[in-house]
Subunit: 516 residues, 2 copies
Amino acid sequence: MKNVLGREIPEELLVEGQEVFQGQYYRDGYVYTKSAPTVTAHVKPTGDKIVENIREAIVKSGLKDGMTISFHHHLRDGDYIVNMVMKEIHKLGIKDLFVCASSLGKAHNYLVPCIEDGTVTGISTSGIRDEIGEAVSAGKLKNLAYIRTHGGRARAIEDGTVKIDVAFLGAPTSDSYGNASGKGGKSDCGVLSYVDGDAKYADKVVIITDTLVETPNFPASIQGVDVDFVVLVDSIGDPSKIASGVLRLTKDTRELNMAETVAKCMYHSGYFKNGFTFQTGAGGPSLATTVFLKKYMDQENIKCRWAMGGITEPIVNLFKEGYINKVINDQAFDLAAVASVHTDPNHFEISASQYANPFNKGAFVNQLDFVILGALEIDVDYNVNVVQGTTGILQGAPGGHTDTSAGAKVSIIVAPLIRSRLATVRTEVTSVTTPGESIDIVVTDYGVAVNPKRQDLLDAFKETDIPLKTIEELRDLAYQYAGEPEKIEFEDKVVAMIEYRDGTIIDVVRKPKQLN
Amino acid sequence: MKNVLGREIPEELLVEGQEVFQGQYYRDGYVYTKSAPTVTAHVKPTGDKIVENIREAIVKSGLKDGMTISFHHHLRDGDYIVNMVMKEIHKLGIKDLFVCASSLGKAHNYLVPCIEDGTVTGISTSGIRDEIGEAVSAGKLKNLAYIRTHGGRARAIEDGTVKIDVAFLGAPTSDSYGNASGKGGKSDCGVLSYVDGDAKYADKVVIITDTLVETPNFPASIQGVDVDFVVLVDSIGDPSKIASGVLRLTKDTRELNMAETVAKCMYHSGYFKNGFTFQTGAGGPSLATTVFLKKYMDQENIKCRWAMGGITEPIVNLFKEGYINKVINDQAFDLAAVASVHTDPNHFEISASQYANPFNKGAFVNQLDFVILGALEIDVDYNVNVVQGTTGILQGAPGGHTDTSAGAKVSIIVAPLIRSRLATVRTEVTSVTTPGESIDIVVTDYGVAVNPKRQDLLDAFKETDIPLKTIEELRDLAYQYAGEPEKIEFEDKVVAMIEYRDGTIIDVVRKPKQLN
């Protein structure tokens, strides 16, 4: 069957009650009863929760074939947790596990042999990169992979779509009762935003830390009252890979020009007022926007009420210079963000649910004025793909892309018209991650297209020097310079479902023929 | 039927699945699935959550006859919320409500006419004082009242014993999305510990504030993602009654002597070591203990790792002088506590569940070394009554009494042997709030009794000058000076159930004949 975007979704792949995508606000007002964990009451005071090692935690948790386990990715490319835990599970011979990860990347490649021998048969994740992306694209995972946004994962846990049996949560610091934090220790990752649902909704919760501190380890991102076991290991990650030292601002003139255009669009949008709110992605032109914003903020003598998102040094700098009043952090992308969330009382950690879950009583994305995002591909209906690479192999991550663009008053995509000699703006995207109705403006190095549904923005930009084009004109330009992209050949086999943040299926990912 | 303490519990009053008290750790290891709210998804960004007034919030919440509403008591004797909300409910003619309050006192007397005309037909509370205590004691409430400890209430909400339909939560500050805090504003109460369960488990949550602040109001005790409506009113309370200015340390020699004995018992107990943890009640001799503790801490050159509980100025002073490393606050009893929890980074707010819920994975009471508590009556089995006054009328509150004494390694009751010419230590208590097995030491002005089950303490005190007596000797002394207390005459009618923290029934309260 086709969903509202015309994407073909094989009906037999839908689980009971699952629908195909019907529009970004289709499930607004949906009434449901939240999921809840099955827990064991600790009435009697029994000392701490420390167990000998990961193996003992797995055994005591009661993990069995067919269960669901979860991980977070705040330790990013430096993460040791997933591989450490999967190796012990492997040794124990437990099979047929569903892995609910907040994101997967090259630090988690031990999942590949686990996928190949049936230890892991299902995956839910935002990012799916590197060898895991290839393995899943090649159809090696027994069951379907589910690509979820950060808000969609929080929703899936809270609404019971995913029931986590055992959460294995790395924590830079913990006390012996499981009050755990992303702050401090030798593997400092700043925040633990994505674990809030895991800790509160999983039946069993295991904290794995390399830095045990005195009780109470407050403020704690994970509360000890939700934790069953604490494991002390030598190291939970490689600090040099947890946060990149500095995400340098681009010096590429083309990127700087695009960034300047983005800032100009914001300035002229009608929403650039004192107290505005925004989020930028961590890509080159998104980040560079902050520099140009400053100019307009000085000019208008206005301040940003808060900036949100995966936080980077340019945002921290604007904050420290007084341009931004508060920072709301769901992920620390670099050392500056890690350092600031420790020390500045106006820099706050929030949970993934607070950030972006569409099914709570109003996530922070709903309060965004602007979001600036990247794209791998954009089609003439403004649909965006950030999940499948140009070869059709899984390599990206929706992250908060779909969540923020649905919530923000003005959502801006910034991307070069041509990337690696391929058209970014095209007639059709390989797969849809974010629906076009969520996207208001596309800024490229060859012009700016405004979604026709935003007549207000078209009017606002009329008398400016913003180089307006239609999205079709941008596509035609791209095809003129780079040629019409060749169609990737896919098999019928679906390897992954792209779940919209509300649980409906917005697209599917099929196995590329080249992987045969 | 009789429970394990020999208290008669009419079987017909037990609801399905309810058991009578079987021992303090009877339900250790109990496995259950938590309750969960039914919520409405706010997928679409729709601006703020502000409604015109309390009446509109009630109407929009869908409140109907027979539902359960909830309140907290952090505004203490200055609270305007309960009366404001009940007056509007009264006007709307909604009947047969169950009121789940964290505690009720003289600020809530508008509940009395509501009880009398059937607007309110059921109550769950810790404290039940003043006119409400009299009305319930007189049997005016249509259904049974349930007396719950702070931990017991958190448990009842989390395990689904109480299902809150609409929570009406006063907040000193809130933003327009419902991120609410006990800090700041003109009705500052410091913390909002008791509302955590209400906000997370109620279907509908209404924040009532008199100080609206810019979004995000972080750090927030109540997260906006759990809030449906925000009401701005002129005033949520009388600041002069919210926190008492100063809880003065007693100058009464008798009380000071008892306090010194308590400190001496702690010192000799074997648990007075560097890094010990403790909680004291807010009564005269409990509070005064802090002064004498200091002497012993200096002498041994040790520090307290953390102090917990309802926090008062003497605790804040010890903290500021460096005797206590961290303070864990579930209630701010005075202005010093309110001020400190705002400003000191080592003074932390915790939820009622973190504090004392026996059914989570280990509450903080389980980590207490010492707790020092008061009592209205103590019997020769060490059972304590803190709920029924000497006339049999409901007037006290279990608060955290039962929770902390079950968790602490050494729980100490301090009370004068005779109070208002009546024996405190007696053969039988009017009703049992806290079982004797949870009580280790009873300190009076006429000697100290140690529960025989604590042979370790009896041994530890042997060579000291602690004036040891048996509990029967204390009782006999009390009877010698004050006479044997006259038996209060009760009707058969049960007006309230005293629920042990784990949900079993430890005792019942009957209607005193004098109230006929």
